[in-house]
């Protein structure tokens, strides 16, 4: 029997970070419900930001969806996590910077700050009884020792899944797979693969991460996303089907892609 892989769709979050892709709330609801229908395990529907798109679309998705887990993305910031929890999604995804370039150079903080923020954020989400997936932002450039330490700590705080985000898209399959194996050898958290396609390796990297023990694979329709995009859902399901079952039929992904095509505006005409 083939192993099961859970597909996490992030078209409505990371896909929308593709410059020029802007989805209206009603479009988000429509696409999310389609993704729910075809059997996607989790749908990341956006970044909680009241000023940007309000909160109604999330409650509409939550009330109408049949089976998918609905998640929203939050920074590693207690206030943001609190706001995200208030929206009552199934999952709040908290993105924690783990590379030195992100922690020191971008945020001007340090590793102790990351750990402290994580503890605070987890206390809030635990109080709300909301499941958390923890994202290791920029994992492909981070110190493995720090990631293991953080994963062990996160597990103790109640995190069940850690997302390894290849934020700048520089992983090759072997390096990506080794990271999964290394973290799994130190703690029991499930691993979620989040790949970017800067060197055209998002599908291969995700597949290798699955082969080395990742249980969740992040994808987007048409592979849209920041810069050169993310792991293309149709291509990934096609590539993995000899070894894994995702519960998603490829032809049904095409239906979602048709819907997305309608949502992308004329500037994307030759885009897909």
């Amino acid at each position: 029997m083939k192993e099961t892989l859970k597909i996490v769709d992030t078209t409505l979050r990371d896909g929308e970070q593709c410059s020029g892709a802007i989805f209206l709330p009603e479009e988000k609801v429509k696409l999310a419900l389609l993704l729910d229908q075809i059997g996607v395990y989790e749908i990341e529907v956006g970044i909680y930001d009241r000023r940007t798109e309000g909160r109604e679309y999330l409650s509409r998705i939550m009330s109408k969806k049949k089976q998918a887990k609905i998640s929203i993305w939050s920074r590693l910031n207690p206030k943001d996590v609190m706001e995200a929890c208030h929206q009552k999604p199934d999952i709040v995804h908290i993105a924690a910077p783990v590379s030195y370039v992100q922690i020191y150079s971008k945020l001007n903080k340090n590793k102790a700050w990351v750990e402290k923020q994580l503890a605070e954020c987890m206390e809030i989400s635990n109080n709300f009884h909301v499941d958390v997936t923890l994202g290791f932002e920029d994992a492909s450039r981070a110190d493995i020792g720090f990631m293991i330490k953080l994963a062990v700590m996160a597990e103790k705080l109640g995190v069940k899944t850690v997302r390894l985000a290849d934020t700048v898209g520089i992983f090759t399959p072997v390096r990506a797979g080794n990271l999964v194996a290394e973290i799994r050898s130190h703690c029991g958290v499930a691993i979620e693969a989040h790949e970017h396609n800067d060197f055209g390796m998002a599908v291969a990297n995700s597949l290798e991460m699955a082969n080395r023990g990742a249980a969740f694979i992040d994808c987007t329709l048409f592979g849209i996303g920041e810069r050169a995009g993310n792991c293309n859902m149709y291509q990934f399901v096609h590539a993995c089907e000899s070894g894994f079952q995702t519960g998603i039929e490829k032809k049904k992904i095409l239906l979602c892609m048709e819907q997305l095509k309608v949502m992308l505006k004329p500037s994307f005409e030759n885009f897909v």
Binding site: S19, I170, T172, D198, L207, H238, S242, S267
Partner: protein
């Protein structure tokens, strides 16, 4: 030694390339450091054998041309001939289409110093990279293998990269993976960033190669195509704009200028205060609208909510000018 043989020209026989187009392409490949070029017999004859100097040429001879002998058998410009499953002399390298390693076929040559070319193996790493490479190792000697992985499962570039890490003799790729191959530009940039391959070289030539491809193929390359896409360094998200403006390496795998592209901050519903400030300073330096950033940001977001599209620079200038007028009137 890393050897990348670009096969783009040999995959474009249906496009009736002109001499000038072929010449231009080869020169552009030289600019990005690719000196090994595979030609088809058709391309060779279009050039009448007059090929730009400074390159190694490999001629792909199909079965029909090989049997009939319709190819330039003794041209000194041709380093190797890729010939179908057989070789009559030292310059001929037999090629095999192999779709799976699971059968018991053996691919041994009488002379164990000779090279061999394998096309296919698109499923090589589906069950894991190490398992795939070990299986390949059992059947072939990597030091004498030229591998041309195909892209049915969208893993060709990764396979090519892996094969080079395992010290394979050479990989065969094509620009944008034309012909369902690994993509030359993706492989080069991955090696450049991760393994410091051709560390001091500029790859601005990719810009001209993109134009060449668009002219020949008659279309526009996807704006988010890896390395070549026009918009891969456009950024809208507030959090990321902030990070990029502080230090571009926060969110970029390499400098856009390296491949002839530019970083661009666009305005959309995820924009933040820093994006607005950056854009005003770029489009209207010193504008008094800088004092109304929060309100302008709200206008940008609500405009996006209504139109479902990004705010163009023209529209943004109109917004700034409206605020400037209001400021002056008050």
């Amino acid at each position: 030694m890393i050897r990348i043989i670009d096969a783009t020209l040999s995959r474009l026989d249906d496009y009736n390339l002109t001499r000038d187009e072929i010449y231009c392409f080869i020169e552009l490949m030289g600019e990005i450091g690719v000196k090994d070029i595979q030609l088809s017999v058709n391309v060779y004859y279009t050039m009448d054998g007059e090929l730009p100097e400074g390159f190694h040429y490999y001629l792909e001879v199909d079965t029909s041309a090989y049997i009939k002998g319709i190819y330039p058998e003794k041209d000194e410009n041709i380093k190797l001939y890729f010939t179908p499953k057989q070789c009559k002399n030292d310059k001929e390298v037999p090629y095999y289409q192999i779709n799976s390693l699971e059968d018991n076929t053996r691919y041994e040559l009488p002379d164990n110093r000779k090279l061999m070319k394998v096309i296919g193996l698109d499923n090589l790493i589906l069950g894991g990279c190490v398992a795939g490479m070990e299986a390949l190792k059992k059947k072939f000697c990597f030091e004498r293998l030229i591998l041309c992985p195909e892209n049915t499962y969208h893993c060709a570039t990764a396979i090519a990269s892996l094969f080079l890490q395992y010290k394979g003799y050479a990989v065969l790729t094509s620009m944008m993976g034309i012909g369902e191959y690994a993509a030359t530009e993706q492989l080069i940039m991955s090696l450049h960033v991760m393994d410091r391959y051709m560390v001091s070289r500029s790859f601005r030539g990719f810009l001209d190669l993109r134009e060449w491809l668009e002219n020949v193929l008659g279309g526009t390359i996807s704006p988010i195509a890896p390395v070549l896409g026009r918009k891969i360094f456009y950024v809208e998200s507030g959090v990321h704009v902030d990070g990029i403006l502080k230090k571009p390496t926060n969110y970029e795998p390499y400098e856009p200028e390296l491949v002839g592209l530019q970083r661009e901050v666009t305005l959309g519903k995820h924009s933040g205060r820093n994006s607005i400030r950056y854009k005003i300073e770029k489009l209207k330096p010193g504008s008094i609208a800088l004092e109304r950033i929060d309100e302008i940001l709200e206008d940008v977001k609500s405009m996006c909510r209504i139109t479902g599209e990004a705010v163009s620079e023209d529209d943004f200038i109109k917004i700034i000018e409206r605020y400037e007028r209001n400021e002056r009137n008050t």
